[in-house]
């Protein structure tokens, strides 16, 4: 246990802010994301999934950390690299796998696939196939929350590459002039596909762009769970208080290639290995152990439990029915409302 006389500054924010149960659940979610994506990758390699997918392995602290202080009424918008956000917001793994497998039981009834998974009931307005497509939508959700007085906050996830789209700039400006309850979370994994931020982006830190829209901007170690929660929780509290938007930049790294087709020609093996040393899950587990919240045996049992959950999810997805061909064009429009 931490020394009870320790000053707050010696104890990481997350340990102070959350109960042991909440922290263990956060660690579990990080493992879930990792195993889920490894399972997805494996299914993909074995030809069970078609299309493409983008893995967020190595970025788990950002997804889980940013959602820590959110409730089911709060919203998120996600990206093409969105499995982690989805799990962090409380999604069901079976329905996610079913979506990968194109099944009727999937989150999008097999119509969307990996790039469009949404979980509207839990406040996840969806992954997005369009880079930066979700950013103005997040601002719209925040506008609803303000006008309707729901008290909900929207966390808007996007990548470093997205910050060069016009939609990013237009959306941040509107969020600021209308003082909307939205937190922009940039997951800066150093590349948009093959293009490094050095080659694509005029500022050194994406958080610096906040100044152009008169909102606070903060750059944090996105592989440090506690640092992420500290920054995002403060921004969420600010938004909930009616003080307007913030921009948080989580500096992280994707271990896998951009998508299925990636020869990693734009980065070195050494760079990848260096970032694997900074594994956000290992760091989270170490932090919890250091503060006496968990131990090796408990972590091993979480891992085993997660393994089984992923296996069960895959089995559910495999056994699920495919959509009917006749239904290919349903849901293009809403059902007619009776007059």
């Amino acid at each position: 246990m931490p020394d009870s006389t320790a000053t707050d500054r010696n104890v990481p924010y997350a340990i102070r802010a959350y109960s042991p149960d909440q922290l263990i659940e956060a660690l579990r979610k990080m493992y879930l994301i990792r195993r889920f994506e490894e399972g997805a990758e494996d299914s993909y390699t074995r030809g069970l999934i078609h299309g493409t997918m983008h893995l967020s392995i190595g970025q788990e602290a950002s997804a889980v950390g940013a959602c820590m202080s959110l409730t089911d009424d709060d919203k998120i918008t996600s990206t093409h690299r969105g499995h982690g956000h989805c799990v962090a917001k409380g999604a069901d793994l079976g329905k996610m796998f079913a979506e990968f497998f194109g099944k009727e039981t999937g989150y999008c009834r097999g119509r969307g696939g990996s790039m469009h998974i949404a979980d509207v009931e839990k406040g996840n307005l969806g992954a997005n196939g369009i880079v930066a497509g979700g950013i103005p939508i997040a601002v719209g959700a925040a506008l609803s929350a303000k006008r309707l007085g729901t008290g909900a906050v929207t966390v808007c996830f996007f990548g470093d590459g997205a910050n060069n789209e016009g939609a990013f700039h237009e959306a941040l400006n509107m969020a600021s002039i209308w003082k909307l309850p939205v937190v922009f979370v940039c997951e800066n994994n150093r590349y948009g596909m093959s293009t490094s931020t050095e080659r694509s982006t005029a500022v050194k830190s994406i958080a610096d762009r906040a100044a152009a829209y008169s909102m606070p901007g903060e750059r944090v170690d996105g592989n440090d769970f506690s640092a992420v929660t500290e920054a995002v929780d403060a921004a969420v509290a600010r938004a909930r208080n009616g003080d307007g938007p913030s921009l948080i930049e989580n500096v992280t790294y994707r271990w896998r290639g951009h998508s299925k087709s990636d020869r990693n020609r734009y980065r070195t093996k050494e760079e990848i290995a260096e970032w694997q040393e900074r594994d956000p899950i290992a760091r989270m587990a170490a932090m919890l152990k250091e503060h006496g919240i968990t131990d090796d045996a408990a972590v091993a049992s979480i891992e085993k439990d997660v393994e089984q959950a992923v296996e069960a999810a895959i089995a559910f997805a495999k056994d699920s029915p495919a959509p009917r061909i006749e239904d290919a064009t349903r849901d293009v429009y809403s059902p007619k409302v009776a007059a």
Binding site: T52, G129, N164, T195, R265, I325
Partner: protein
């Protein structure tokens, strides 16, 4: 095709043919630059630019940030002032982000300025479904751009045309939009080496036949040819026309065929309603060829829905070979 003497014809892929055209253009003309997302060291999302960056450097094979509207606009401005940009969209769907510059600027600048400038711009759009990439990465939006005076819009169906139309587009003083079906990139075909051009605005008769005319675009040309082959065994001779350019349309080739067969089937992957099939049908209906029609015109196009992810649904929402066989047979046998 008009080619130089001393050429050699080899079998290469559609993607290689496009790369070869760009290679020729880059080597012949200093004004030519390539712009797009991840077209440099990554080689392009579909490996079309490949290793051209190694040969011409990052000043001429330029990776843009993920900024379609701005990037397209930079290409327009560069084209107006002395460069010859070839701009690659990573997926044709992302043209939606750049519509302002394509539609309001590139297409209209020359007209609005009373002919004082031209916009010699080439844009390439990987298009179509069949890759499991779902609704935002699988669209066929060529008719959107085909609706805009000032643009020319082509859809090469073969490796030979992919190269020839790209070189023709570069020779053209006006903006030319090239829609490349993603499933064709790996298709191989006979392609002459060296420089040649394929005329913009000219359709090609891919197969002759007297019973029914099938007018198709892009990948549907190949599906129509497969269908025609199957119908041959039943004694039905289909004429297959590859439209190649949808703006300007080659009326002569289509009308001549319809006068001969008296039956018209239009096949295209884009959503059926308000698409290229409507234009071709109306062109026939408005001409003397209408008098030669022995049956109502039939259109086969994409379903009235976005492209779904599930592979079976994905196939179901665009015309397939059996659909074409059935429709052509119905027409030929007078059952429609």
């Amino acid at each position: 095709m008009n080619a130089q003497a001393g050429i050699e014809v080899r079998e290469i892929s559609y993607a290689q043919a496009i790369r070869e055209a760009m290679d020729i253009a880059l080597s012949e003309d200093e004004r030519v630059i390539l712009m797009g997302e991840d077209i440099g060291v990554y080689g392009g999302a579909f490996q079309v630019t490949g290793d051209l960056v190694d040969k011409y450097g990052t000043d001429r094979v330029m990776d843009t940030p993920i900024s379609e509207l701005g990037g397209a606009g930079v290409a327009v401005g560069a084209a107006m002032t002395g460069l010859r940009p070839i701009f690659e969209f990573q997926f044709s769907d992302f043209a939606t982000l750049a519509m302002e510059q394509i539609v309001n600027q590139a297409a209209k600048v020359r007209y609005m300025l009373g002919g004082a400038v031209s916009v010699p711009l080439v844009m390439r759009f990987p298009a179509g479904s069949g890759t499991g990439a779902a609704a935002q990465h699988s669209q066929s939006l060529e008719a959107w751009l085909g609706h805009v005076p000032g643009l020319k819009v082509v859809q090469p169906a073969t490796p030979e045309d992919a190269k020839g139309l790209l070189l023709a587009a570069l020779d053209d003083p006006d903006p030319v939009m090239i829609f490349e079906h993603k499933l064709l990139y790996k298709m191989k075909g006979q392609v002459p080496s060296g420089r040649y051009t394929t005329p913009i605005g000219k359709a090609a008769v891919r197969r002759e036949g007297g019973h029914v005319t099938i007018v198709a675009t892009a990948i549907m040309v190949h599906k129509a040819l497969d269908a025609a082959k199957a119908l041959e065994d039943e004694g039905i001779e289909a004429e297959v026309i590859d439209l190649r350019t949808i703006r300007p349309l080659d009326g002569d080739t289509v009308l001549a065929s319809v006068r001969k067969t008296g039956k018209l089937l239009c096949v295209y992957e884009a959503v059926k309603t308000l698409g290229i099939g409507a234009e071709v049908s109306a062109m026939v209906a408005e001409s003397d060829a209408f008098d030669f029609l022995d049956a109502p015109i039939v259109r086969l196009g994409g379903a009235e829905s976005p492209i779904p992810y599930n592979p079976e649904l994905e196939k179901a929402v665009v015309p397939q070979v059996p659909d074409i066989i059935e429709a052509a047979r119905g027409l030929a046998e007078g059952r429609t």
